[in-house]
Amino acid sequence: MSIQQTDTPASSPIANDAGMSPLHKAIFLGLLAFLVVLPFMVYPVFAMKIMCFALFAAAFNLLLGFGGLLSFGHAAYFGGASYVAAHAAKVWGLTPELAVLSGAAAAAFLGLIIGSLSIRRQGIYFAMVTLAFAQMVYFVALQAEFTGGEDGIQSVPRGKLFGLISLEDNISLYFFVLALTFGGILFLYRVVHSPFGQVLKAIRENEPRAISLGYDVNRYKLIVFVLSATFAGLAGATKSQVFQLASLTDVHWAMSGEVVLMTLLGGMGTVFGPILGAAMIVTMQNYLATFGAWVTVIQGVIFVIGVLLFREGIIGVISRWLKRPL
């Protein structure tokens, strides 16, 4: 069972695999231009937080929107990678790029183990299994030595990129984060618009048929799961470098819920939906931070409204109006 996207244009086949559609190219270029000037307009750390979550949501969307698999435990890879990256930078003294990569590698490994177990069940069972494994990762993070329990790993050094360029300054760190997250999102875009991505969509739409056509469905599911976990991990590892902190918040189930919300709000199965959804949720949290638990209530209300009235998400609706996949 999978989330059906019968009327979103995003599921329409894209004949030309060789390149990006001109519209998408224009949007990506506009977005890049905007992001280059953004740190001079808003607080760079805030902008970096949005970019990390945009990559996280895009990675999650690869699994849900294109693979049709609802994981309710993506915090495990996001938070797990942030712990590993923080540990690598602080204790092993690795340079930022290696710390981030080791975080992503750890998330890939975790995704391989959890993914190979979880794909044995489908539909809502899959969601419950991934949630339960993520909770197990949470308990490990709570009890293990190297994670620092309730305190987390604090004051992680930002270090020098390639051992040369200091990232202490927010602006230089910003462009490091921009390169990682934007590059990550472009890579995910490429995956979706590749023959592999087409097979994924075929499995999402009709799994028995994909099997009868000779595709090893479970292998595809596992690969997309690991890819999604890896890039979720890349996002989490990058976030730990930005905030110089890895904490239990990032592995908690509420984080798994947040990424679902971002993707749902922006539009699952769209290219730009998760980016917009992440920007909106992070901005909302930023402005409503003083209201405490009301943030949770508002997120819950957005969830309910989104599911009942607005299942296509914002970009999904715009995409339907324009009759173009976005």
Binding site: M1, S2, I3, Q4, L70, F72, L117, S118, R120, R121, Q122, G123, I124, Y125, A127, M128, V129, L131, A132, F133, Q135, M136, F139, V140, L142, Q143, W253, G257, V260, L264, G292, A293, W294, V295, T296, V297, Q299, G300, V301, I302, F303, V304, G306, V307, L308, R311
Partner: protein, 296 residues
């Protein structure tokens, strides 16, 4: 007295009792999830939040209206059940034609709202709830001390679980329910009001969660977060048991509570994750769950 691997029987039996009590809550909650899932095909993520709401309703009844534990044991599940019926009629009923995952997302959102609201008004420190006077104190069994209230929790949960099983498997209403689970279209063709049956089933499943909440109130402090972590463990219990059978859900609940208690004796660090490890093993050996029937 015997000693087992250097562990005194007092410790062992004490932890077994704790495990049995946790198991009682797992059993009632996973039973409610299984009943709801059978007919609605929805995994009720709000189950933990409604369990917490049950405990809070009991506390509110006592502190604002002076209504004690025993009436609350009936009233709180009714109130929570009625609330559940409103949710089902106004929201969930719109989603039955869609993918089941939307039901999960909707109830997740509802859980966030309910938890957030209670957290706003009552904080997260937890509120005490007195054990009713009839059940305070305990029995000295010679080898261990058995608090009366804990014994009551185990007995009450067994009675409720057995009662639910009896109602579903042995009564006419239960037969309708099982038939509607198999084939709703055919059952409604025989003149049975299936939407009403669905609504009542959801109300009943949720009322079970409210009942568990009242039972839990004197043991754990009444806390807005009490349901959130519990429900994830209950999900693992449901995956292990498989939702095919009512009795399976009950047995798996108690069994895993006891396993967790034993782990706390022999390897305390592992007690928080043992159920998830068992889930991994079950997924490897029998992916459909111990009592599961469906293909996958």
């Amino acid at each position: 007295m015997f000693e087992l691997l250097g562990i005194s029987p007092q410790v062992l039996l004490g932890q077994l009792l704790l495990g049995l009590i946790n198991g009682a809550f797992y059993a009632i909650l996973s039973l409610g999830l299984a009943v709801i899932f059978g007919l609605l095909n929805i995994i009720n993520f709000a189950h933990g939040a409604l369990y917490m709401a049950g405990a809070f309703v009991a506390w509110i009844l006592l502190h604002y209206l002076g209504i004690g534990y025993w009436p609350a044991l009936i009233l709180a599940p009714l109130i929570v059940g009625a609330f559940g019926i409103v949710l089902e009629r106004t929201m969930m009923s719109r989603l039955y034609k869609l993918d089941h995952l939307y039901g999960l997302l909707l109830t997740f959102g509802l859980a966030l709202i309910i938890q957030g609201l209670f957290r706003n008004y009552y904080g997260i420190s937890g509120l005490p709830y007195q054990i009713p006077s009839q059940l305070s104190g305990g029995q000295n069994l010679g080898f261990m001390f058995l608090p009366n209230y804990r014994a009551w929790v185990v007995v009450a949960s067994i009675v409720v679980c057995f009662g639910t099983w009896f109602m579903i498997e042995k009564t006419r209403l239960g037969a309708y329910l099982r038939a509607a689970t198999e084939n709703p279209a055919l059952v409604s063709a025989f003149g049975i009001n299936v939407p009403l049956l669905i609504t009542l089933t959801y109300g009943f499943g949720v009322a079970l969660a409210g009942f568990a909440g009242v039972l839990a109130a004197p043991i754990y402090s009444v806390n807005p977060n009490m349901g959130a972590d519990l429900i994830i463990v209950v999900f693992a219990v449901v995956v292990i048991g498989g939702m095919g059978s009512i009795l399976g859900a009950i047995i798996t609940g108690y069994m895993l509570g006891i396993v967790e208690g034993l782990t706390r004796v022999f390897y305390p660090e592992g007690s928080a994750v043992v159920i998830f490890v068992i889930m991994a093993i079950v997924l490897l050996i029998k992916p459909e769950g111990l009592f599961g029937k469906e293909a996958r």
